[in-house]
């Protein structure tokens, strides 16, 4: 039983990472129906920016988190402006291919700038371990931070989308871009905001992952990016609580597969799950089946 609880804790930790990345994924998709494959690499850039600001500017955790989030939100807006905006009225496949191109560009650029081997992320937080049940269950403070920050960011994001003016504009744009434009909503600005917020979330995830595993490398965004995408689809793409649910479920499922089967199967199970979900309920766990009006 204690093993199971420990595995559950491991799973929730991994799930927080997936959930954080998939929040941004889901948001961008929800607003402009674009699967931004570069999202995982913005997560990587975020980790590197924090690494640089800690190592060279000697900043603490919160300032470097803010620096990294700001940098990445600007980066996200720039990517949208130069890579996706010209293709807004092209077929969706062109935008998707461009997104893959941007993703490869970021990965290779980072390898040129920072070198290809992994870097050690500085220890910003003193590690504390909490032992429960005579040491059979161990939780450390980083895991708690990760979980709390993830939930906090989701609540803030939900508030922004539901209650603020810019959130209202986002929802309007996601329903019908042309109608929104006719009602006086500045669509370009709204989409820029969406990318800024989504990328800032990815950056936050990058910093937290760097902190938790204390290692970063230029390809760190590839697999988590894909997994976060699965998590987003799993929960219902475009739905914010769905991304959370998907992220945590995927993290827990992977951990249990490793813990009670073999870790070699965990990625296979994750992708098999994606296929299953798409067959059974294409709109995801929290998705509603919307009938296409003809």
């Amino acid at each position: 039983m204690s093993t199971f609880i420990q595995q559950l804790i491991n799973g929730i930790t991994l799930g927080s990472v997936y959930a954080l990345i998939s929040l941004g994924y889901t948001m961008v998709y929800g607003i402009i129906k674009l699967i931004n494959f570069a999202h995982g690499d913005i997560f990587m850039v975020g980790a590197y920016i924090a690494y640089l600001s800690v190592t060279y500017l000697k900043l603490g955790l919160i300032p470097s988190l803010i620096v990294s989030m700001t940098f990445c939100s600007v980066l996200g807006m720039l990517i949208e402006k130069f890579a996706y905006k010209p293709l807004r009225n092209s077929p969706r496949i062109s935008a998707l291919i461009t997104a893959i191109g941007v993703s490869l560009l970021l990965e290779n650029l980072m390898q040129i700038i920072m070198g290809a081997d992994s870097r050690v992320f500085p220890r910003l937080v003193d590690e504390k371990n909490y032992h429960l049940l005579q040491g059979r269950i161990v939780v450390n403070n980083k895991q708690i931070y990760l979980l709390i920050i993830t939930i906090l960011l989701m609540i803030i994001l939900n508030f922004v989308v539901k209650k603020t003016k810019i959130g209202k504009a986002m929802r309007a744009v996601s329903q019908d871009m042309d109608a929104a434009r006719l009602m006086g909503i500045n669509v370009d600005t709204t989409i820029s905001y969406t990318f800024a917020i989504g990328s800032a979330l990815a950056a936050a995830a990058g910093v937290l992952v760097g902190l938790y595993y204390n290692t970063i490398n230029p390809l760190m965004g590839v697999l988590p990016g894909l997994k976060a995408f699965i998590a987003a689809v799993f929960g219902g793409i475009g739905i914010i609580p769905g991304a959370m649910l998907g992220g945590f479920s995927l993290g827990i499922i992977e951990t249990l597969v490793s813990g009670y089967g073999s870790s070699m199967y965990k990625d296979a199970v994750a992708f098999a799950l994606l296929i299953l979900i798409l067959i059974i309920k294409p709109s995801g766990l929290l998705g509603k089946n919307i009938k296409e009006k003809v």
Binding site: G135, V138, M220, L256, M264
Partner: protein, 390 residues
């Protein structure tokens, strides 16, 4: 008419320059270097290259080989098996090198060896430890053109298993290994054989895939089976993470590794307070009081301004090893193929070559018979524990 003459003169002049430059390029001995200088295991390749360069510089300053200087042709194989083979082909065919030094890791060396064998160029790895690097798995025959100047995993796995049984008095061992790495799987097999022959029992054997960062779930599984030791035959990137995550899960048992642990990144990633009770076999220790070792450390520090690790020492030895073979090969510079053959025979006959990392004799399996050391990590600092002879 004048113009024609001048053109002819120009042509003659150009041709003479060309022949001169061509002749001068024949005045060096070209040795290829096929190493991991970027991506996953760049640390090993970069350190080895530093060692090789230092040795070749010293040899050239002393006048080189038979009046010729050694010229290194260095190409990065990006820590990739396929690329390692392409690099070996390029060095053999386009660069016409006499021998290839490298790669650092077993998988890359095995695939580079395919090209080396095809083009009949001797290839010598300074640190590929997997048994099947020099011996064909299927036929059990030694690969004619493939050599190494380090000990192999049978020896390394034995050393660690015996250390666990005799010094740590372990009865139950757990193993965590990389299922995508030849090095990892070879060590696992050898450790397990020796450990179980010696009366121990391997109670858990957990695999992970390439690029894994989160080992918490397999470590939890292992933790709750209560082994006495954890053996992790992995490279430095995973080693640091495994040590850290195991300690954070409250596993305080000794963690054993092999020469892949010999990198400062292991301690950086694990954290000083977690890097305790960790033991690994290595090619050399900078705390070895041998005069040759200390002299090498001095030279290395003078050139690169940092402490050499085992891989730098292996690279340095390989530089002198190839020079020693070149001297004995009695090269005639008549044809590259014949010279490669002469060099191969000379490498094969190496006996008692004295290097920084020990005395090397090449045996019939093209392995180097030499000693290993066991190093302990105490609060993140390497401590020389013992030296073991084959």
């Amino acid at each position: 008419m004048k113009r024609v003459v001048s053109v002819i003169l120009l042509l003659v002049f150009a041709l003479s320059i060309f022949t001169v430059s061509f002749a001068s390029s024949k005045n060096v001995i070209k040795i290829g270097v096929d190493l991991e200088l970027s991506q996953a295991v760049a640390q090993y390749g970069q350190k080895e290259l530093e060692g090789i360069k230092l040795a070749i510089e010293e040899i050239n300053q002393k006048g080189g080989i038979a009046g010729k200087k050694i010229e290194l042709v260095v190409i990065d194989n990006k820590s990739d098996k396929t690329e390692a083979q392409n690099v070996a082909t390029k060095l053999a065919v386009r660069e016409n090198v006499l021998a290839i030094l490298g790669p650092a890791t077993s998988g890359a060396t095995k695939s580079a060896a395919v090209a080396a064998t095809k083009y009949k160029v001797p290839i010598i790895s300074p640190s590929a430890t997997d048994d099947t690097v020099t011996v064909d798995e299927r036929t059990g025959k030694t690969k004619t053109y493939v050599f190494r100047t380090c000990f192999n995993d049978s020896f390394q796995g034995n050393v660690m298993a015996n250390f666990a049984l005799k010094t740590l008095k372990a009865k139950k061992a757990a193993i965590i290994y990389d299922a995508t790495s030849d090095y990892s799987k070879g060590l696992l097999k050898n450790f397990k054989n020796t450990f179980e022959k010696g009366g121990g029992k391997v109670i858990a054997q957990e695999a992970f895939g390439k690029g894994e960062q989160d080992f918490s779930s397999i470590l939890t599984k292992i933790r709750d089976k209560k082994p006495d030791v954890l053996f992790a035959p992995v490279y430095y990137d995973e080693a640091g993470l495994i040590i850290k995550q195991a300690r954070e899960l409250g596993m305080n048992i000794p963690i054993l590794g092999a020469d892949g642990f010999d990198d400062p990144k292991v301690v950086e990633k694990a954290g000083k307070k977690n890097a305790n009770n960790v033991f690994f076999s290595a090619h050399y220790s900078s705390q070895d009081t041998d005069a040759k070792v200390q002299e090498f450390i001095k030279k290395f520090k003078a050139k690169y301004n940092q402490e050499p690790n085992a891989f730098a020492a292996l690279g340095y030895d390989l530089g002198y090893f190839i020079a020693d073979a070149l001297k004995r090969a009695n090269l005639k510079f008549d044809s590259i193929a014949k010279d490669r053959e002469r060099l191969r025979a000379a490498i094969e006959n190496t006996k008692n070559f004295v290097g920084v990392t020990g005395v090397v004799s090449i045996n019939k399996y093209h392995n180097a018979e030499k000693s290993a050391v066991i190093i302990e990590l105490k609060d993140g600092v390497q401590k020389f524990k013992q030296k073991l002879n084959p």
